[in-house]
């Protein structure tokens, strides 16, 4: 069986303790047949990049509800690149104001999801990103 299973790191960078969203997404991705590595709360960008490297993931999913996304996301992108993991697709969820979205996309974030996003869309868009 050499078919590639999609591996996703679900991480919560920063200091907010609201991990329900991350867990809902982790569960939905599991039900979609993906292997989700769940790292838990309060991860530093360094911890996330290190876990992404060790786990050789295809996708990193970040959940940020603290408002610190403009500080955390660039650092994570930078570290992934520095580790040679440019091909990893990064998705993000949480409370992200509309005006930040273009800048996050420009940094290379593939998808951004706010409250009310459907897990089916997330699954679909991850699968699509894997094809490209």
């Amino acid at each position: 069986m050499s078919e590639h299973t999609i591996r996703v790191l679900v991480a919560k960078p920063g200091l907010d303790g609201h991990d329900r969203g991350a867990k809902v997404v982790a569960r939905a991705l599991r039900d979609a047949g993906m292997e989700v590595i769940y790292t838990g709360l309060r991860q530093t960008p360094e911890m996330i990049a290190e876990a992404a490297l060790q786990e050789d993931v295809d996708v990193v999913g970040l959940s940020i509800l603290s408002g610190a996304h403009m500080a955390l996301a660039p650092r994570i992108m930078e570290l992934l690149k520095a580790n040679g993991q440019d091909q990893v697709k990064v998705f993000m969820g949480g409370i992200i104001p509309d005006e930040d979205m273009p800048r996050l996309k420009a940094m290379g974030i593939t998808g951004i999801y706010g409250p009310g996003a459907s897990t089916e869309d997330i699954v679909k868009e991850i699968r699509e990103a894997m094809k490209s």
Partner: protein
């Protein structure tokens, strides 16, 4: 430079990619394993198993911290969690308990889904351990899925198997059932600050003593010495270590037990015996796979499927189907033409 060379030089990204190739059992992965094999055989493989929620991940976290603190050995962790039998997906959550280990270049944690295997580890877990071994990790800790009673595959793979128990999980009858307790080289009672720990310890100890009777017995409250049932020299009697993995209590004792067990394996010849048994079963499994592939390729088109259909409709039993297929005329195989010219 090839991927294997990069791995041997200590490139962590290359190592991670190779682990994926090996885990997926891809042709590149298999070729790399063959190439790396001569570099293996040095690592101490330590299995950690036990029921869900006994604190295996937290214990592994502490063990690695201790190994890194005391002798700077490079440590790899393979943490296996179950795959969904329905979707094949998985949530691998063992890293949550191992956050103390991040930022240390001498540690490499890899989560792994069981992908349909039922023995507590995945089919390619042994192969991943080999890659870590070749990459210079001296200690490879394999944490199994939360195991019930018969997930004992780990004992075939690891040199030293730790079985983790926690207070309140079962009585002394659980402790004499066959299976998981039998494979323990070291018994760890974690959460030793919880009530009931003495009871758990007593149940485990008496279970061990049923296997190896001791020389002192208590008869109506009086200690009597019976003619010594001395264990034959150089027998390993699993020690029982108590730990509190959340604060690190008792971990040094477990490390000591592991070192003693290693010593025992080396001096008793058990190390070689285990290595040989492991490599034998690995080779046998590969021969089986290879022959199966060859056999299926040699069958006439659709013969296997049509036999299966007859089994599905209950007109042929699986045993008859296998016999029938084995005797099926195999027109193009070279061996058949050689033997019957």
């Amino acid at each position: 430079m090839s991927l294997t060379q990069q791995v041997l030089k200590g490139d962590r990204l290359a190592l991670s990619r190779l682990l994926t190739l090996v885990e997926n059992n891809s042709p590149e992965g298999r070729a790399a394993l063959a190439e790396l094999f001569s570099h293996t055989g040095k690592a101490h493989l330590i299995g950690v198993t036990g029921s869900p929620g006994t604190g295996k991940s937290s214990l592994v976290n502490q063990l690695v911290l201790q190994y890194r603190k005391t002798d700077q050995k490079k440590v790899a962790v393979i943490a296996v969690d179950p795959s969904s039998p329905f979707t094949g997906g998985a949530v691998l959550g063992d890293r949550v308990r191992m956050r103390d280990l991040s930022g240390d270049d001498g540690v490499f944690i890899r989560s792994m889904a069981s992908r349909g295997s039922v023995g507590g580890i995945a089919q390619t877990t042994a192969a991943l351990a080999q890659v870590f071994d070749a990459a210079g990790y001296e200690i490879v800790i394999i944490e199994t899925v939360g195991a019930g009673q018969s997930e004992v595959e780990i004992a075939r793979l690891a040199h030293t198997t730790l079985v983790v128990e926690a207070p309140g999980l079962g009585d002394d009858i659980q402790a004499i059932k066959a299976g998981i307790l039998e494979i323990a080289d070291i018994l760890v009672i974690n959460k030793a600050d919880r009530p009931g720990v003495e009871h758990t310890e007593r149940a485990l100890r008496s279970s061990l003593e049923l296997a190896r009777p001791v020389s002192r017995v208590y008869h109506h409250g009086q200690a009597m010495t019976v003619k010594a049932h001395k264990p034959p020299p150089n027998t390993w009697i699993p020690p029982i270590n108590k730990t509190i993995a959340t604060d690190g209590s008792g971990i040094a004792k477990v490390i000591e037990s592991i070192a003693k067990h290693m010593q025992y394996l080396r001096t008793s010849g058990e190390w070689n015996a285990r290595e040989r048994a492991r490599l034998r079963s690995e080779t046998e499994a590969l021969v089986r796979d290879t022959l199966m592939t060859q056999f299926l390729e040699g069958l006439p088109e659709g013969a296997f499927e049509s036999a299966l259909e007859r089994v599905f409709s209950h007109s042929l039993s699986p045993i008859e189907a296998a016999q029938f297929l084995a005797q099926t005329e195999r027109p193009q195989t070279p061996r058949a033409t050689k033997e019957k010219p």
